[in-house]
Structures are given as C-alpha cells and as structure tokens.
C-alpha cells in the first residue's frame, strides 16, 4: 500500500507541549482523543503550517521535515490536502473557484476539466457557480474535500470533518466519507474526538492524550485490547473498574472486586502476569452481561460463571436499548458512585423480563467479556 507515514514530533506552544511518534501504513489513520490533546497541532505540523522544534515527517518516502538534517519543505510545496474543521471555504469565491484554487498555473482547459471531474465525483456537478454560503453543511464538506483532492495530494488531512454537521447527517456522511476515502485510495489522517466515528473511518487508530500517544493500533485491536486504563477511559468505555489480583496465569486472571472473585481471560501473547495482591484495572462490556431468567431452573455455577446479584437503581432509555445501573447486594461502597455496574439490554428483553417492575436480578459475565487492562 502507498502512503506510508512516519511521524515524530516535538512541538512547544505556549502552555502546551506535544511529543508524539507514530506511523501508519497508508489507508486511513485516525487521531483520536479528547479536545486539546494535540491532534490538530499534529495535522498542522504534517501540512507544514507549524514548524516542530524537533522531529521527522516522512510521507510515502518523501522527507518533509527532519530537524537533524535541517529539511523543512514549505507548506506550499508539500502537496498535502487539508480539510479544515469548519471547512475554511473561501467565501468570496464560487464553488468551482474554490475547488480550482490549488490548480493555479495550469492551463485553463486542464484546470476546468479537473474542476468538473472533481465536482462530478463528489456529486456537486451543478453547484459550481454557487457560493459557499448557499450550500448545506454536507455540500460544504464535499466542496472542502474536493478542493483538497483536486491537487491530487500525496496525503489527505481531515480535521473533525463531521463535527460541523447535525447528528442524522453526520451518520450518513460518515459512511459516505468512508466509502470515498477508500475509493480515492489516498492515504489520510483524520482527527476526531468521537470514538464511533474513529472506529468507522479508521484502519489504524492513534490515541492521543495530553500531547502524548497512549496507543496506536489497528482499530479492532484497540476496541478489544485497550493498552491501559487511561486508553479505556478516553475511549469512553463503560464499567472501567479496579480490583486486586488473586492469581494470574498466561491464559486466566482471577481478581477480587467488591467481595467477589471474578475470572477473566488473559492473553498469552502479551504475557501479562501481575503478582497476587497487585491492583488491577479491567472493564466489563455492558452489552455482554447476562441477566438470569427467574422462570428457569436455578442458576448453576458451572454454567454461569462470575455470578453476581444486585438491584437496579436506575435505568435509562436509549431508544433501542436500556442501560441499567445495578448495585451489588454485597456490603461496601459501590464502585461507580451509586452503582457498581452498567448493563445494556435490548428493549425486547427489558419488556419480556418486566425489568421496570422487577428490580432485583442475578446476572453472570463470561470470562471472555471481562477485559484486563495492563498497568
């Protein structure tokens, strides 16, 4: 795959320090993390708009910046397409002139042809003579994308490409953008603070926090194996909890939490073997917690591992699912404020089990759904 990207940056701006190193092998790399983590600053360095104090930027084998050899290619010469947050369309130019802005110096005919081809590809064919103010949010996004693509960039940078849009449109355009990026095939770096967006768009996700990279991994790996408790919290994973180790083997970890002994799967590949009594962080996926039906035979411990009992203290309707907040019957302060664990159930289950009326439940969690977070 083309578009291999190597990034190492040390940047200092008043009140903030960025120090990151990551790479991506073409495709779409998403920089994900909270606001103010340094994601946009990274894009600005890639584009040559901000000069790092030290570091190295290599795109597809071309060195754009290297503090050791003193290389610093000007932004004008990098041929990097940048879609700005809020799009930054030139309000005094028509759509066609916006898209053709980067084609100055080429013969008029070629320029017109390229603009027309770009507008066509993005479904903007008949909007060429309009001004940005006459366009909808989705159309503006496409014009910004077209303007960046028209220069046939070596790399495409997109800063929160969907944040300026309304929620329903966002979802539609997210999938449209994903299809477009894979169709164009240009390597891209996308910045977002929305994990769903990151997951939908990315081949590889680079997690930023406070000017550092805390994890860089293929998206599936990130989802199932966040590298640490802080990554899990940045991703917004519910039920990030803390217990103590009872016993750890290469493929199982027993841990104590809220008076229970829970069994979780360990992954032999990462050889994480904390000693007994060591503190340990883990998370439980709320959609993998099983409520046990009371009309069935008595729960047997063999069949239901990690069996617990508790009270629903709150429930929230999310339209298609309910989130139940359950406090364990065991004494002691609950782990998450008023409750211990969040459980997600589909509407149908909520109604069949009459959870609205019946608040006391037994539930179990398969060991494969308890994910240990290495310290």
């Amino acid at each position: 795959m083309t578009g291999r990207l190597e990034v190492a940056l040390a940047v200092q701006v008043p009140g903030f320090e960025l120090d990151v190193a990551w790479s991506a092998g073409g495709g779409v790399a998403v920089l994900f993390g909270p606001s103010g983590a340094g994601k946009t600053l990274t894009l600005q360095c890639l584009a040559g708009l901000v000069r790092p104090r030290a570091g190295r930027i290599v795109v597809d084998g071309r060195v754009f910046f290297d503090s050791q050899t003193g290389v610093n290619v000007a932004a004008q010469a990098r041929r990097i397409g940048y879609v700005f947050q809020g799009y930054a369309l030139f309000p005094h130019l028509t759509v066609a002139d916006n898209v053709g802005f980067g084609l100055r110096g080429r013969p008029r005919a070629e320029r017109a042809r390229r603009v027309a081809a770009t507008l066509d590809k993005l479904g903007l064919g008949d909007l060429g003579r309009r001004y940005p103010r006459d366009l909808s949010g989705g159309q503006r996004q496409r014009v910004a994308l077209g303007r960046a693509l028209a220069i046939e960039p070596a790399l495409l940078l997109l800063d929160e490409p969907l944040s300026a849009l309304d929620a329903p449109l966002r979802r539609a355009l997210r999938d449209e953008l994903r299809a477009l990026l894979s169709e164009v095939g240009t390597a891209a770096v996308v910045v977002t603070h929305d994990f769903t967006e990151a997951y939908r768009l990315a081949d590889r996700i680079v997690v930023y926090d406070a000017g550092r990279v805390v994890q860089a991994a293929p998206r599936a790996e990130l989802l199932w194996q966040p590298a640490s408790e802080s990554v899990a919290r940045i991703m917004g994973i519910p039920n990030v909890l803390r217990g103590t180790v009872v016993k750890a083997t290469p493929d199982r970890i027993q841990l104590r939490w809220r008076g229970q002994v829970l069994e979780a799967v360990n992954s032999p590949s990462r050889s994480y073997l904390p000693p007994p009594e060591a503190p340990i962080a883990f998370f439980i996926r709320p959609e993998y917690v099983r409520l046990i039906r009371k009309d069935r035979v008595v729960a047997d411990v063999q069949h239901h591992m990690n069996l617990m009992r508790g009270q629903v203290v709150a429930d929230e309707d999310f339209g298609t699912t309910y989130t139940l907040r359950i406090r364990l019957d065991d004494p002691g302060p609950p782990a998450q404020g008023d409750w211990d664990i969040e459980v997600e159930v589909p509407h149908l289950v909520y109604e069949i089990l009459e959870i609205e009326r019946d608040r006391h439940w037994e539930f179990s969690i398969h060991r494969g759904s308890i994910h240990v977070l290495p310290a």
Binding site: A47, A75, I80, G102, A148
Partner: protein, 221 residues
C-alpha cells in the same frame, strides 16, 4: 462664493484625497503586518501609529516640525541639499492630515484583517499560495469592507484636520488654509456669513462620510 472660500474648499478636498491615498498605500500594509506578523518592535510600531489619536493635534504638529521643519532632523538635510522645506507648503497639510488620519485607518483595517479566519489563509498555503499571494487573493478581499470603512474615516479625519496642519503648514490663505483653518480665520475676523457657510458644508460632508462608513461597516459583518 468668494475666491478664498473656493480655494479653501478645493485645497481641503485635494489634501483629504491625497492623505487618504497615502493612508491606503502605507496604512493597509502596515495594518496587515500588525495583524498577522509577530516581530520585535511590533508593539512600538503599534504605539507610534496610535499616538496621534490620543495626543493633542498641536503636539503631533510640534513633533512634525521637529522632524520636518527647516531645522528638523529630516528637514535640515533636505533643506541643505535642495533649498526647499516642506513646512508652510500645502504638502505640509497633506503630511499632517496623513499622520493624523493614519491611526483611524490602521486600527480599523487591522481589526478587519484580524477578523479573517486564519484557516482560510492556511488553506491557501496548503494549496500552493505564498503569503503575499494569499494576502492579495484571500485576506485583502475578505477584509475589504473594513478597510474601506477605515479609509472613509481617514478621509473624514483628513478633511477636518486643524491643529497639526496649523503647526506644520500654517494658515496661509489660498495656499495652506484648508476649510477648518478658513473657518477659524473667518470667525476671528468677524465674517460670520462665510464661517456659517463653511461650517454647514463641512457638517454636511461629515454626515455623508459617517453614513457611508456605517454602511460599509454593516456589510463587513
């Protein structure tokens, strides 16, 4: 209309137009640099261009004499070489009006430049434009209304300039006596009718200027 009244009017227009032109040539780039560049001495330049707005015009005029008068820092060498001095010529009126109007233009234009989204300029850079081309093709057109409003204000200020002009150019009828100076003379010599007419003219002109500036300002936002 007496010939002195006519000449005052013509001179005032001449001075104000030239001063506005000079403001556009010097003040607009200055405002851009102050808005967009960080350099040593930036706040000093900012201070110096703003000072005439705050100082009494006679003080600014005094500095201009110190700088450009026949024995001034710049004026003396010029006088020695050419035998000519700008003081007490109508050019002096232009210089005084230019300096007095500059803060109004620079401050307005600077605010207009600052209101242009920096991402638009950054976008132009990534699309291959140099800073100068970007300033001409993106920043300037987008700041246009603010700059025009600034120029209208500068024109008005130049038209009404009195103190600094009196110091540097004097009040020579038919030569350096602009309308404000002519009004002063008329009142001093008891020519009430003449004073009233000039006052009326200047007031009307100022009203036109304010309305124009407001319209431009409203369109800028």
């Amino acid at each position: 209309m007496s010939s002195e009244t006519t000449s005052a009017l013509v001179l005032s227009m001449q001075v104000a137009v030239l001063a506005t032109l000079l403001n556009a040539i010097v003040g607009v780039p200055l405002a851009y640099v102050l808005a967009r560049r960080r350099f040593r001495g930036r706040s000093l330049v900012d201070l110096l261009t703003t000072l005439p707005l705050v100082l009494p015009p006679t003080v600014t005029g005094y500095y201009l004499i110190v700088l450009l008068g026949r024995r001034g820092w710049l004026g003396a060498p010029i006088y020695q070489v050419t035998g000519w001095s700008v003081a007490f010529t109508w050019y002096a009126a232009v210089v005084a009006a230019t300096i007095m109007a500059l803060p109004l233009l620079v401050r307005t234009a600077k605010a207009a430049f600052e209101s242009v989204d920096r991402d638009l300029e950054r976008a132009a850079y990534t699309l291959g434009r140099s800073e100068l081309r970007t300033a001409v093709e993106v920043t300037l057109p987008l700041a246009r209304n603010g700059i025009l409003a600034g120029l209208v204000l500068a024109f008005a200020r130049a038209l009404g300039e009195f103190g600094a002009t009196l110091m540097l150019a004097g009040n020579i009828p038919g030569k350096t006596a602009t309308v404000p100076l002519a009004i002063y003379t008329a009142v001093q010599t008891g020519e009430d009718a003449r004073a009233l007419m000039l006052v009326g003219l200047l007031t009307a002109l100022s009203c036109v200027v304010i309305v124009t500036a407001n319209r431009l300002g409203a369109r800028a936002t």
